[in-house]
C-alpha cells in the first residue's frame, strides 16, 4: 500500500507542469528588473495611489478622464461615419425604384459606457507600468423601414482595454 503511494508520488514528481509562456516570463522579468531598481514599480504605484502623492493622483485621474473622453468622441465619430457608409439591404428580386420605400436605414446610433473595471497595474505596450482599465460598452443602432413600417434595433456589447500610464517616480 505504502509502496503504491510512493510509486505514484514518484510518477507525479516526474511530470513536468507546462511552463508559462515566453511573453509572461518577459513581462515578469521586466517588472522584476524595474522593481529592483526603484523599490518595485508596484510599491511605487501603491505609494502613488494611497500615499502622499495626492497631486499626481489627481493628475492621473484627470488623464484617465481625458482618455475616456477621447474614446467616447472617437466612437461617436466612428458611429456617424459608419451610419453613412452602411450598406442598405434591398429586398431580393426587386428593383431599386420599386423598393425605395422599403429600404431599411439607420435612424439612430449610440454607444453607452455602462461599466469600468480597474484591473490593476500592468505593463503597457511600451513596457512602462500603467493602470489597466477595462471599459464595458454597448453599441446600439436603430433601423427603420418606413415603407413597411417596421423597425429593429441591434445592440452589441463590446469591451475595450485602455492603459493609463503611471508616473515614473
Amino acid at each position: 500500500m505504502k509502496d503504491d503511494l510512493s510509486r505514484l508520488e514518484q510518477e507525479l514528481a516526474q511530470l513536468r507542469p507546462r511552463s508559462p509562456g515566453a511573453d509572461c516570463e518577459r513581462r515578469l522579468r521586466r517588472i522584476s528588473t524595474e522593481g529592483a531598481a526603484s523599490g518595485t514599480a508596484a510599491a511605487d504605484s501603491r505609494r502613488f495611489m494611497f500615499g502622499r502623492f495626492w497631486g499626481r493622483r489627481v493628475a492621473v485621474l484627470g488623464a484617465a478622464a481625458l482618455v475616456l473622453l477621447a474614446i467616447r468622441v472617437s466612437m461617436l465619430l466612428r458611429d456617424n461615419a459608419g451610419g453613412e457608409e452602411e450598406a442598405v439591404p434591398v429586398a431580393a428580386g426587386t428593383s431599386t425604384e420599386q423598393v425605395e420605400g422599403n429600404e431599411a436605414g439607420v435612424v439612430a446610433t449610440g454607444t453607452v459606457l455602462y461599466a469600468m473595471a480597474n484591473e490593476g497595474t500592468a505593463l503597457a505596450e511600451n513596457g512602462l507600468p500603467a493602470t489597466r482599465v477595462r471599459l464595458y460598452l454597448l453599441e446600439r443602432a436603430s433601423w427603420e423601414t418606413p415603407g413597411a413600417r417596421t423597425s429593429f434595433e441591434i445592440v452589441r456589447p463590446r469591451e475595450e482595454v485602455v492603459y493609463i500610464p503611471l508616473p515614473v517616480l
Partner: protein, 171 residues
C-alpha cells in the same frame, strides 16, 4: 541565481498552482503576473527589496498568486456570473502537464484525476510536489497545522491512486 534561471525552475509549478483556480492558461498567466506584483509590493513595503524571490519567499508567493486568482475570479463572476459558471465546468485540465507522445495519455488522465480532487487537497499536492515546499511551509502559507497539510497530502495521494486504478479497471 538570475531571474531567468529562477523562473525556469519555479515558473511551471507556480503556473500549475494558478491553474487550479482559473479556467484557462491565459487567465492563469494573468493571475501569475498579478500575484507577482502583489508579492513584490508587499515585500517592498516590508523591507524595500525587489528582484528574484528567495526560497523562503515561495510560500508567500503561492498565497499571493492564489489571492490574485480569486480576485480575478470574483471580478469575472460579478460580470458574467452565468458564463463563469459554465466556464468552470469546462476547465481545461488536459494541458496541465508537458508530455511526450508515449506518456501524453497518462499525463492527461493524471491531470483529470487531479482536477477531481477537493481543492484543499489539490493545492497541497501541487505545492508539495511541483512547488517543492515542505509541510511546514505549506502549513504557514495556508494557515493550517503542519500535520493537517501532511494528512491532506496523504488523502490526496490515496484518492488519486483510487481514481487512476478505477480508470485502469474500466479500460
Amino acid at each position: 541565481m538570475n531571474w531567468t534561471e529562477w523562473f525556469q525552475e519555479h515558473g511551471p509549478g507556480l503556473l500549475l498552482y494558478a491553474r487550479q483556480w482559473t479556467p484557462s492558461r491565459t487567465e492563469a498567466e494573468e493571475a501569475l503576473q498579478d500575484g507577482f506584483v502583489r508579492f513584490w509590493r508587499s515585500r517592498a513595503a516590508r523591507d524595500g527589496t525587489g528582484g528574484v524571490p528567495s526560497d523562503t519567499d515561495l510560500p508567500r508567493l503561492f498565497v499571493a498568486i492564489k489571492h490574485a486568482a480569486f480576485d480575478r475570479g470574483r471580478r469575472r463572476r460579478r460580470r458574467h456570473e452565468r458564463e463563469a459558471a459554465a466556464a468552470e465546468q469546462l476547465y481545461d485540465r488536459n494541458g496541465w502537464f508537458e508530455a511526450t507522445a508515449p506518456g501524453a495519455e497518462r499525463a492527461r488522465r493524471i491531470g483529470q484525476a487531479l482536477g477531481e480532487l477537493p481543492a484543499e487537497q489539490r493545492e497541497v499536492i501541487v505545492m508539495k510536489i511541483w512547488g517543492g515546499l515542505t509541510f511546514r511551509q505549506i502549513g504557514e502559507a495556508l494557515r493550517i497545522p503542519q500535520n493537517t497539510a501532511a494528512s491532506r497530502y496523504r488523502y490526496a495521494l490515496a484518492a488519486l491512486r483510487r481514481e487512476l486504478q478505477r480508470e485502469d479497471a474500466t479500460r
